[in-house]
């Protein structure tokens, strides 16, 4: 029996996708914040990519100054609320909390963070006074965590920031990709709304930057351009059967789940291909959508999975079964998916090889490929002078986030190859500082 029934109503969906980090009430926040030791040179801060002053905001919560706490958080990270909910805190701040050194439960930093940010999101309290406009204009391609963070920081410093976004909603993968049990659409969008009201930048939706002319226009109209386009669609596996009905890319499946889950019909038996966090999410999500059986198939050993251990645990809790050392050869079926043909593998000296004669077929009626996202080469290749690394990421100066083409800066997944929301938020903000330096040094 599956753990979850197919959600028939909106309430069913919300129950199946119940928040794993629900909002703390005032009592929880008071008691939990009271436990923080206020460490010196705190390891939790060092573990946060945006270096939020965690002991400070926890102390502010404890002394009844939640909006001060929210300001501390937003001073370092414009995606403060989203990050509290979607960050892999177990391997970041909470994983570094000194309490874990003695087997005591780490401080619930993520949830405390949300307790504070939620307060200002609800009241809309103005936290920032932007500097007077300096007349300079910056174009930002992509309204993901990197792009929006860059826009916030630039607007704060007096720039006119205009964000060009291909889709019709802001926040990039935060609303289109992150699992719904981590954060709801409403929560993501409330923060975006809050940021736009605080800083007043403009987002042009349904405005994909595609052609050389588009780029030329940006270059002439703006003093600098930030590239925050993230990664693209799910990469092809280059194997027969990929075009069959019910064979989907994970990113596309999840986007539909987030925006229009009522339209999704998961199969009875779903096979998810991959061993990264996206694979774990897609598997969990299929199970929560009511699939009878969800199998996670990974080419290598369980220990070699790219996914965090707690993400795999979460998937197992949802009823997902993992099979390891199996490589897909072909997706079977006439017009619809009917199964996957695998071959077993083994790892010798870190190299995997297939075991001849070990082929087998696993029947299923849906396949989700979670085998990585493509790079945004189509767009990036059109920017002459912009160099990419061999893996397709944009080459940048690590201090300023400037690309090899001086007017262009870049950050987030497009430059780091695919990390977390918190990294993109950090890089977008730091790139804004790089842009400011570039535009003030020039003359």
């Amino acid at each position: 029996m599956a753990e979850y029934k197919t959600p028939a109503t909106e309430a069913d969906f919300e129950a199946n996708f119940a928040q794993i980090k629900p909002l703390m009430n005032a009592n929880e926040a008071y008691y939990e914040s009271g436990r923080c030791l206020f460490c010196y040179d705190a390891p939790c801060v060092n573990a946060c990519p945006t270096s939020i002053d965690i002991p400070l905001f926890i102390r502010q919560i404890n002394s009844g100054n939640a909006s001060g706490a929210a300001k501390t958080i937003y001073d370092s990270n414009y995606f403060g609320n989203a990050c509290g909910k979607v960050c892999p805190t177990e391997v970041l701040c909470e994983g570094a909390c000194v309490y874990t050194n003695q087997g005591v439960k780490a401080i619930e930093i993520g949830r405390l963070q949300n307790f504070a940010t939620d307060k200002v999101l609800k009241t809309g309290k103005p936290l920032y006074k932007t500097l007077p406009k300096n007349g300079k204009k910056v174009a930002i391609i992509g309204a993901g965590p990197a792009g929006i963070s860059c826009a916030c920081e630039l607007s704060f410093s007096g720039y006119n920031a205009t964000v060009f976004e291909a889709k019709s909603l802001p926040s990039g993968l935060t609303v289109h990709g992150v699992a719904p049990y981590k954060i709801t659409n409403e929560e993501v969008l409330a923060e975006m709304d809050f940021l736009q009201k605080q800083f007043g930048f403009e987002i042009k939706y349904n405005s994909k930057i595609e052609t050389a002319e588009d780029l030329q226009k940006l270059e002439t109209e703006f003093d600098a351009v930030f590239i925050g386009v993230g990664l693209g669609k799910t990469a092809s596996l280059q194997m027969p059967g990929e075009n069959l009905e019910n064979c989907l890319g994970a990113v596309e499946f999840i986007e539909q789940l987030r925006l229009n889950h009522a339209e999704i019909k998961v199969g009875e038996k779903v096979i998810v291909l991959g061993g990264g966090n996206t694979a774990m999410d897609a598997a969990s999500e299929s199970a929560r959508m009511g699939a009878e059986e969800v199998v996670l198939a990974y080419r290598r050993d369980q220990t070699e999975m790219g996914a965090y251990a707690f993400e795999y645990e979460l998937a197992k809790h949802a009823g997902v079964k993992g099979i390891f050392n199996v490589q897909p050869l072909e997706i079977l079926g006439t017009d619809k998916v009917a199964g996957v043909k695998f071959i077993r593998t083994e790892t010798l000296n870190g190299k995997i090889s297939t075991i001849p004669g070990s082929e087998f077929i696993l029947p299923c009626d849906m396949v989700i490929k979670a085998t990585g996202q493509e790079k945004q080469r189509n767009l990036l290749h059109q920017i002459s002078g912009l160099e990419l690394a061999s893996n397709g990421t944009i080459k940048i100066n690590e201090a300023t986030f400037q690309t090899t083409k001086p007017k262009y800066f870049a950050g987030g997944d497009a430059a780091n190859g695919g990390m977390e929301v918190v990294n993109a938020a950090n890089e977008g903000k730091r790139a804004a500082k790089g842009i400011h330096q570039f535009l003030t040094e020039k003359r």
Binding site: Y30, R35, C39, A42, V98, N101
Partner: protein, 449 residues
């Protein structure tokens, strides 16, 4: 099983734990319930006229997740008629012959005192406690702490009481006085059989910062109250010790103030308390705490090989001396037991900013180390360390030398001016003219400048 029973100035009770005169002893119903739970005695909520109810009346000091680490009240004595109290004392004593009932009293004239003493004796009380401690309300009318602060007045009233009292009389002292031994001596001079201390400490527990009124609030105004609960224990311990050390005093002492666990109680006993009284902890957790108190005390006595409570009363008193008698040659230094370190670096920042810059940080490790030359052995790091037993203070002198300030004074060998090397100032590691002593500045300091 050690013998927990006591005979306190002639008041016998099955264990040394008494309810202090406070709301838990307001009615016969409560006192009987307490005795059923196992309390050894109860000092009845102070009997007096007039009967007054104050609303609201309590305030609390909360520390992080802990509530009521300090507690404050502005209520007056019993809110019930004296006649009702007397009747209930009689009922309780009929049902509970072993447990002690002590009547707390606060009156004004000699005649009133005489009458009430006879009344409570007739009701069957085992003892009397004179409330000379209440620091709010009653003192404005010349009672409570107004008496406790005037040794002469106190002595006179004790004498009035002793004129008629046939049962033991305890005088309850107020801590709102510079020298607690003066009222203690006056109580003895007046003929009292025992003393008890402390009553509450005059306080303002906090301020409502939205409405600009201190707590607790009575129709937009407040008044000073009396402070008690865990936070006052150190003040109470010191005053109990001071009374226990009065030469030739010899009156039994009932210790009160911030007692919550058996450990607190043992500390009071070691400093000279023959019985202990508890109010706030019962108001917080109810009568049930008596089970932890008796079982803890019993275990402690058994483990230490004491047969009865009496054997520990005052055992720590000889070990409290004046500063001039301390051995100045005794020296401890901090030691970090790395296997217990949780790497919070609270010790580092405490010593660096708040003590003697005697803790350093190494590149590549979060575990701090002690810079032994700089450590003055103050204990601060071991107190802030959240990991039990992680920082210990280890003796470093060889124990062969003993030198006190008193001896130095007698020998005419004490520092006389600011530059006297005997004061140690010139040898301080922070003194810039003595570079040699600044041996190892903590890494962090250099790195961050």
């Amino acid at each position: 099983m050690a013998d927990l029973s006591i005979n306190f100035a002639g008041i016998k009770s099955p264990n040394p734990f008494w309810l202090a005169s406070a709301p838990p002893t307001n009615t016969g119903y409560q006192v009987m319930k307490a005795f059923d739970a196992g309390w050894g005695g109860a000092v009845w909520k102070t009997l007096a006229v007039p009967v007054i109810n104050t609303s609201s009346r309590y305030g609390s000091v909360n520390y992080k997740d802990k509530r009521m680490v300090g507690f404050n009240n502005i209520e007056l004595i019993s809110d019930r008629p004296v006649a009702d109290n007397l009747r209930e004392i009689e009922e309780v004593k009929k049902r509970f012959t072993d447990s002690a009932v002590i009547a707390s009293l606060m009156f004004q004239t000699r005649e009133e005192w005489h009458r009430i003493v006879r009344d409570v004796e007739n009701a069957g009380a085992d003892g009397i406690e004179l409330n000379f401690g209440c620091p709010h309300g009653m003192c404005e009318r010349g009672m409570g702490s107004a008496v406790g602060q005037e040794p002469k007045v106190l002595q006179t009233i004790v004498e009035w009481v002793m004129e008629v009292a046939k049962i033991p009389v305890i005088v309850k002292l107020t801590p709102n006085i510079t020298d607690i031994t003066q009222p203690a001596i006056a109580a003895k001079a007046g003929g009292a059989n025992a003393i008890s201390l402390i009553n509450t400490i005059q306080s303002l527990v906090g301020v409502d910062i939205d409405n600009f009124v201190p707590y607790p609030i009575v129709d937009g105004k407040s008044t000073n109250g009396g402070y008690c609960g865990p936070a006052v224990k150190p003040v109470a311990l010191n005053m109990v010790k001071n009374c226990a050390q009065i030469p030739g005093f010899n009156l039994p002492i009932s210790g009160i103030g911030g007692i919550e666990t058996w450990r607190d109680a043992v500390e009071f006993m070691l400093l000279g308390s023959g019985s202990v009284q508890i109010a706030t902890a019962v108001m917080h957790y109810g009568f049930g705490i008596i089970r932890e108190l008796t079982s803890g005390l019993n275990n402690y006595l058994d483990e230490k090989g004491f047969a009865s409570v009496n054997e520990i009363v005052g055992k720590a008193v000889p070990n409290v001396t004046s500063w001039e008698n301390l051995n100045l040659k005794y020296e401890v230094k901090a030691e970090i037991h790395e296997e217990k370190c949780i790497e919070c670096q609270l010790c580092y920042t405490a010593c660096e900013d708040g003590a003697h810059q005697a803790i350093g940080l190494r590149e590549g490790s979060r575990i701090p180390y002690i810079i032994k030359e700089n450590c003055v052995g103050c204990n601060l790091c071991s107190l802030v360390c959240p990991s039990e037993g992680c920082i210990t203070m280890e003796r470093v002198d060889d124990g062969s030398q003993h030198l006190t300030w008193k001896q130095m004074t007698a020998a005419g060998d004490i520092p006389t001016d600011f530059n006297d090397p005997r004061a140690g100032g010139l040898l301080h590691h922070a003194n810039p003219t003595e570079q040699a002593f600044v041996t190892k500045r903590p890494l962090h300091y250099e790195a961050k400048v």
